[in-house]
Amino acid sequence: MFRFLIGRLFQGMLVLLALYTITFFLAKAMPGEPFTSEKNVSAETKANIRKLYGLDQPLWKQYFVYPKNIITEGSFGISTSKGRPVGDIILQSFPNSLLLGLCSLAFAIAIGVPIGVLSAVRKNSWVDWTCMAIAMIGICVPSFTIGPLLQIYAAAHIPGLKVAGWGNLQDVLLPAFTLGLVSAAYLARLTRGGILEVLSQDFVRTARAKGVSPTKVILKHTLRGGLLPAVAYLGPAFAALISGSFIVETIFQVPGMGQHFVNAATTRDEFLLLGLSLFFGFLIVVMNLLADLLTGFLDPRVRLAGETE
């Protein structure tokens, strides 16, 4: 276990390093200066930042300055477009994204898994076909079509729901639903596939030969193995959900991280881009690790790499 964690920690660092390297050079390759379009940053600040991050130094030196500042000062740099520290921006927007992400995840699991199980149990019946058709709609109709539709129909007719905005607790409902729909659809398909795979295995026949009831066959003998594909999908999906969705935050004007990210990419805000990318990467690494641990917990055959036999 310890060996496994150390190994994964190391691997995670590698991922972050690779991500940093790629983002750094891509950001540097963007033409133009970070400040060209900015007016709300004083010339003095610009000069300070330049010096602080060695923007006047050769490229390879700049490459090391940013990580050094993170480690020694805990500083992710200053957003050139907002004129505020990147760390502050993340801290401010992340809770919003986290709330949205958790709600949509809860929704996705609550809808997707039961639908997948139902579909698998009633394989090739109209129930199955309906469920899978709905799941297909969830996958094929983009959130930027569903979102606006919800805005004009749901928000207009259901009291308490707003077209857009972020302030009350119920404001999270529409964006969470929109965001969770795709994940729910994928979860339903993966759960169905996983359960069917397990149901076709010999030990299910053994259980039936023992006189286990159909409900218990599913709950006790099948669900654990059948959920494995869904769990593997959930790790990265969870990270993507709680790090905010670019689309849904734009549509519903949620002050989350996704918006900042798009802004950073369009305004060439180098440090914001780097900081957010690293933060995303960090979330993914952590969530993948959690998914692996959960898989190990669900499936006793999986020995976490690094453990001795």
């Binding site: 053994t206 259980a207 023992k210 006189g211 003998h221 690094g306």
Partner: protein, 577 residues
């Protein structure tokens, strides 16, 4: 009254391709405490019979079309599932073939063994668990208390089958349906499982329906035998009757075509020597006896092996010295700690020209690895392989090409050993192209046709794909491919293990015939001692990578020197009365 009465049971499979009569009018019965063996080859309907009784077949496509199954006075066919569930696992239990896949990998052993008690009896969890552990001890699982809390993957195949048996007997059922329970196991493990089953029958008074393809096993364990063929029962009776005085031609054929440790034929009789099948207009088949069956058999008997009185000095074709193969795993950066498994450990062997060396051993003993290492399909780490006086280890790929032509291999699984995307013609022409045999397309094609004919197939199969053939036919094609390059030496790696005995006899005969015609030298690898005995002049017994015993076939079988060989020989189920 018997415990179980099956009358005119009919189970059909309805698929798009048509209806298959998997079980067609089957009747038999089992008494209390009786062990009845149901024998048949694949597709004979023996397992389907078993599954039909408890309603365990997937419906559709399967459907019980008629007949009755009466268990202790109660009709099972048509019984609502809820009532049937009360019988399953409580009064009638089942044990399945593959202990690897039949236990739930996600649940602890104890949860699975205790489950039938918790379902069927009003017992507390502690009671159920202590009874489960008691039963596990009874089937010979040592340290049952501790091991009960581990998961199936931590058990060996034989141990898992014991767990299965414990699980099925923990509720004290009246009848145990055992569906090929020992087929996936090594022969020594099989012997122990059979022993346990016999003991438990006496201890617990449970009746057993034992389904198997292995006549030896049936002779060993059953009181009565039911022989099935293509969905029908062709003969039933006591073990003695069936084995000593079979009346049906199929049963006669089945008994004769199976090589036993005492077989003296040079060519095995086949089922076709006895049985004449005629397809009727309505799609059914009638079975009849060949009128000339006795003559055919007598002719075979004439060809009985006569020991050569004069031992000619033999020319050595292959010599293996001090050969070793090690597998390394792990050792990656931050991965598993490195491990070395010694698969082949300092092996010495010689094979004379034109003879057969049989290599026997249980699964995992390294016999396949040894065969592959000799052909240089496997990296070796020490020792030498001399073929016809030339050292093969260390030859470059270009130099090895000549020997690729002279040494060939036939694999176990005829389904995996042919490229599914190539026609038979492409498969057989490719070696000719690579080794530049035959001057033009026409010549090569003629050669391919004659090869096919040599293995008993015709030119009409040339443009077919492998999936359109049966297992036996595919193996013939594999043989033809190996022979395409005119080799002198062929490694047969478990090449009949996946086959029914009747098909096995045909393929063995083919190999024998080809050996005579082409003066081939075989390395015959198998886990089946009877088959090896039939095929081989010399025998090597392998265990954990080492050769335990090496000598003349007759001498090894009649007077085994090592304990392990003796144990193996004793474990072979015999059908002698």
């Amino acid at each position: 009254m018997s415990l179980l009465d099956v009358k005119n049971l009919k189970t059909y499979f309805h698929t798009r391709a048509g209806t298959t009569r998997a079980v067609d009018d089957v009747s038999f019965s089992i008494d209390k405490k009786e062990i009845v063996g149901v024998v048949g080859e694949s597709g004979s309907g023996k397992s389907v019979t078993c599954h039909s009784m408890l309603g365990l077949l997937p419906q559709p496509p399967a459907k019980v079309e008629g007949g009755s199954v009466t268990f202790d006075g109660q009709e099972l066919i048509g019984l609502p599932t809820s009532l049937l569930r009360a019988i399953r696992g409580k009064r009638i239990s089942m044990v399945f073939q593959d202990p690897m896949s039949c236990l739930n990998p996600y649940l602890r052993i104890i949860d699975q063994v205790a489950e039938p008690i918790l379902i069927h009896e009003n017992a507390s969890l502690e009671q159920a668990e202590s009874r489960a552990i008691e039963m596990m001890k009874k089937v010979g699982i040592r340290d049952a208390e501790q091991r009960a809390h581990s998961y199936p993957h931590e058990f060996s195949g034989g141990m898992r089958q014991r767990v299965m048996i414990a699980m099925s007997l923990v509720t004290n059922p009246d009848l145990l349906l055992a569906d090929e329970p020992t087929t996936a196991l090594d022969v020594t493990v099989q012997a122990r499982i059979l022993e346990i089953l016999r003991e438990l029958r006496d201890d617990l008074g449970v009746a057993v329906l034992f389904v198997t393809h292995d006549l030896g096993v049936v002779a060993n364990i059953a009181d009565r035998v039911v022989v099935m063929y293509k969905g029908k029962i062709v003969e039933q009776g006591t073990v003695c009757d069936i084995f000593q005085n079979p009346s049906h031609p199929y049963v006669k054929g089945l008994l004769a075509c199976r090589p036993s440790l005492d077989t003296k034929y040079r060519i095995l009789p086949t089922v076709d020597d006895f049985l004449k099948t005629e397809d009727q207009a309505d799609g059914s088949t009638t079975l009849g006896e060949r009128p000339d069956a006795m003559e055919r058999l007598a002719k075979l008997q004439e060809e009985e092996i006569l020991d050569d009185p004069v031992e000619k000095p033999l020319e050595t074709l292959l010599e293996v010295n001090d050969l070793g193969v090690h597998f390394h795993s792990g050792g990656g950066f931050l991965g598993k700690p490195p491990e070395t498994v010694i698969a082949v450990d300092k092996v010495n062997l010689t094979i004379p020209k034109g003879k057969t060396l049989g290599l026997v051993g249980e699964s995992g003993c390294g016999k396949t690895t040894l065969g592959r290492a000799i052909l240089r399909l496997q990296q070796t780490c020490r020792g030498s392989v001399q073929y016809d006086g030339r050292e093969l280890i260390g030859l470059t790929q270009a130099d090895m090409l000549e020997y690729r032509k002279r040494m060939q291999i036939i694999f176990q699984d005829p389904y995996a050993s042919l490229n599914p995307r190539q026609t038979i013609e492409q498969t057989l022409i490719e070696p000719l192209l690579v080794h530049k045999i035959g001057a033009n397309r026409g010549q090569r094609r003629d050669r391919v046709v004659s090869l096919l004919e040599e293995v008993g197939l015709g030119a009409e199969f040339l443009l077919r794909y492998p999936h359109e053939f049966s297992g036996g036919q595919r193996q013939r094609i594999s043989v033809a491919r190996a022979l395409a390059v005119e080799p002198e030496f062929v490694v047969c790696d478990e090449c009949v293990s996946a086959m029914d005995v009747s098909v096995q006899a045909q393929v063995l005969n083919l190999l024998r015939e080809l050996q005579g015609k082409r003066n081939l030298t075989y390395l015959f690898i198998s886990h089946d001692l009877s088959v090896v005995k039939f095929m081989s002049d010399d025998i090597a017994v392998m265990k954990q990578g080492r050769i335990e015993e090496f000598g003349k076939a007759n001498e090894v079988y009649e007077n085994p020197q090592s304990d392990y060989t003796r144990e193996l020989l004793e474990a072979v189920p015999r059908a002698d009365f």
